[in-house]
């Protein structure tokens, strides 16, 4: 049974009526017959009904009208349940009488933008869409491609079966569409025919329906490019990022290698967008425009101060698509976590790249899925993005629940090009491989040791020294040794920062942590910060209700304003939190951090002096 939710409560008056009409205009005229079921309409009602059905029939693409060969009877009913606009039976559609009353009560010149016009036409089209969907020519709601686009995604854990839940619930035009694929098709066909903005807001679905029905209803003037919200764009930059698919030279599978820790053994899956600098023609040089590259990374949004593995297993964290600057991702993995990154170009043509970006935008604005460690993790989400965004890839056997598994399958299917890693030196130089900083710690130490005759034999012994013990050595090296010492000093700083972080966590979150007022204040500040971050990680939350799909002109203006406001506040709170966190540390740790920073500062000065002394190039 197909129920149509009523958008506004309307009063009904009479017992049911029906009428017969031969749709009389447009190409649909030849076959589509909307017939009577009763004779008791007043002449005015009969005329209004004729007008409505004519209008609806005129809008139907010929392929749709042709498929409805048998006459369809139309009945006005006032016994439909509340919230139901209509029903589609075998060869009969029932419509809420209130729609007719509202249609008749409109001002004489009311156009499609009048709510009553829109509601009545939408109801007729919705029910005719159900009838069409049931014909052999229709069957849209069973088409795997439609299900991909709509959000009943395949699930690798269930042998390729689809999820029964549609998680594309943000910025939906009408949440009734999420009820079932059948309703999704009917609701979306309403919008396809009646809303010129549909082509801009749901471009992939527009193209799908247009190709299927061989029709292209009027399109509005779409806002250019695709926009995404960057949770951490950097100070002074607008968090709203516009990407023009024509400027994307390549998409890489970006794989963060696992490390020894049990929980990150399988690595992390991301996609890297190789975006060309403004003005640069699309080509291999774009690979060096690193500051414009962005990373699409599915992450659990953890709205709490500590992660619970139980919550991770049971899906109580939202899974969100983050858009991050590449350089931030490089720092995070190679310098903080000491994990390597492999960036493997995917073989996609420009149209496929554009479709993938469009799909990413749909996910970014509408998806509110759940992160499950096992069944809906980063690898599964990335697989689904590729699968749903590029139809060709849906035909490949790529499903995997681990990032390494997905990598292997992409490679086997010839989609990811791993030959870029064949020459390790070139892979590093061209950015196909980003080494963990730790890869050269020992070598750097050897350089310094040789030059300065350091007494320690291993890099670890050097890093274990107190910063004050290392300090005197730092003023003695030549340019080469000083460069090596700088890298080691930075490694020492990062290590101390991690220790400090652990120390704070133990203090604030550990069992039996003492709850001084300082601690309570710290936790409150952190919770507040996370609340703010929640807004930035769920882009749809920044937009007012009403719009749907990809944000268009007015919405982008609102987004620019709102997101800048939130981002500025977020930056400020983050800096405050950094400063406070320093204060909350034990004195000893504070002193170590300060001394290491001083070491880095003095090495910087030494490098500049040496450079000046030898008359080096000044930039």
């Amino acid at each position: 049974m197909n129920l149509r939710r009523r958008r506004r409560p309307l009063r009904t008056i009479r017992s049911w009526l029906a009428l017969c009409l031969l749709a009389c205009a447009g190409q649909a005229q030849a076959t589509l017959q909307l017939q009577p079921a009763d004779r008791s309409l007043t002449p005015a009602q009969a005329q209004a009904t004729r007008q409505l059905l004519d209008d609806a029939a005129q809008r139907l693409p010929p392929a749709w009208a042709d498929a409805l060969r048998k006459p369809v009877s139309v009945e006005w009913r006032d016994d439909l349940p509340a919230q139901v606009h209509g029903r589609a039976m075998a060869q009969r559609i029932l419509l809420d009488r209130a729609l007719l009353d509202a249609w008749m009560a409109r001002p004489p010149q009311a156009g499609i933008e009048h709510p009553a016009t829109r509601a009545a036409l939408a109801a007729v089209i919705h029910e005719l869409a159900h009838l069409y969907d049931r014909t052999p020519q229709g069957r849209l709601s069973r088409d795997p491609r439609l299900l991909d686009l709509a959000g009943w995604q395949v699930s690798p854990m269930r042998w390729g079966l689809r999820t029964s839940h549609n998680a594309f619930s943000d910025r939906s035009p009408d949440r009734y569409e999420l009820d079932s694929p059948v309703e999704f098709v009917a609701v979306n066909l309403e919008y396809f025919l009646l809303d010129p903005a549909y082509a801009c807001r749901r471009p992939a679905l527009y193209r799908y329906f247009a190709a299927h029905l061989r029709a292209s209803p009027t399109q509005a003037d779409c806002a250019a490019g695709l926009v995404y919200l960057q949770a951490d764009a950097g100070a002074g930059q607008s968090p709203l990022l516009q990407i023009d698919p024509d400027r994307v030279y390549a998409v890489d599978y970006l794989f963060a290698e696992g490390n020894d820790r049990a929980m990150s053994r399988w690595g992390h899956s991301m996609l890297r967008l190789v975006i060309c600098a403004p003005g640069r023609a699309r080509g291999p040089d774009c690979r060096l425009d690193l500051q414009y590259h962005r990373v699409l990374s599915f992450r659990a949004f953890v709205d709490d101060v500590q992660i619970s593995s139980w919550r991770g297993l049971t899906g109580s964290y939202p899974s969100r698509l983050f858009v991050l600057p590449l350089e931030q991702v490089i720092d995070e993995y190679t310098k903080t976590e000491l994990r390597g990154l492999r960036s493997l170009p995917l073989k996609l043509d420009p149209a496929e790249t554009a479709a993938l970006l469009e799909r990413a935008a749909r996910l970014h604005w509408s998806y509110d899925g759940r992160y499950y460690f096992l069944s809906n993790n980063c690898a599964v989400e990335t697989f689904k993005l590729l699968h749903d965004g590029v139809p060709r890839l849906a035909g490949e056997r790529l499903a995997s629940i681990t990032p390494t598994g997905l990598l292997r399958r992409l490679q086997r299917a010839g989609i990811a090009d791993i030959t870029v890693l064949d020459d390790p030196e070139q892979a590093r130089r061209l950015g196909y491989y980003f080494e963990p900083s730790s890869a050269h710690y020992q070598a750097m130490f050897e350089v310094a040791k040789q030059s300065l005759h350091l007494p320690q034999s291993e890099v670890q012994d050097w890093l274990d020294l107190a910063p004050g013990e290392r300090a005197p050595w730092l003023q003695r090296g030549d340019l080469r040794a000083s460069a090596a010492l700088l890298l080691l000093e930075q490694a020492a700083l990062r290590r101390q920062e991690l220790l400090a972080r652990d120390e704070l966590k133990r203090r604030f979150l550990g069992r039996g942590a003492d709850r001084s007022s300082d601690d309570a204040q710290a936790l409150a500040a952190l919770q507040d910060f996370l609340r703010l971050e929640g807004f930035l990680s769920r882009p749809a939350a920044l937009l007012p209700e009403g719009g749907y799909g990809l944000p268009q002109h007015d919405e982008r203006d609102a987004l620019t304003r709102e997101s800048s406001r939130y981002a500025a506040q977020w930056q400020q709170q983050r800096e405050q939190l950094h400063a406070d966190a320093r204060r909350w540390l034990p004195r000893q740790s504070q002193a170590t951090l300060l001394a290491t920073e001083a070491n880095i500062g003095s090495l910087g000065r030494r490098l500049r002096e040496l450079h000046l002394e030898q008359g080096g190039l000044q930039l």
């Binding site: 100070a235 690193l290 992160y371 000046l612």
Partner: protein, 100 residues
């Protein structure tokens, strides 16, 4: 049993950017630490050069053997815009970046 695990111990669950790095985490300027030009007012174009500082240090320390893409990108950009940079060798450029 519900065992709460702390964020840093649980890298398989990649988390929102701020949590990953901000709670007393890495200082934002770590990669350009010690640089005289690491003020917040750098433009995007300068940023690519400052971001190359670690790569430049590896390049200088390894006498050119370790050559990362961030250095490559910075050199490419400097040579596109700066006539002096076009005359300079890779090592001279790397040293200049390191001395920023």
């Amino acid at each position: 049993m519900i065992r709460p695990l702390l964020i840093c111990a649980l890298l398989a669950l990649p988390v929102a950017p701020a949590l990953a790095s901000s709670f007393a985490g890495t200082s934002a300027g770590a990669s350009s630490a010690g640089s005289s030009g690491s003020s917040g007012s750098t433009s995007g174009d300068d940023k690519i050069v400052l971001q190359a500082r670690d790569d430049a240090a590896s390049f200088v320390a390894s006498e050119g053997r370790i050559r990362g893409v961030q250095l490559e990108a910075a050199m490419h950009q400097l040579r596109e815009r700066n006539p002096d940079a076009r005359q300079a060798s890779d090592m001279q450029l790397a040293q200049a970046i390191l001395a920023l």
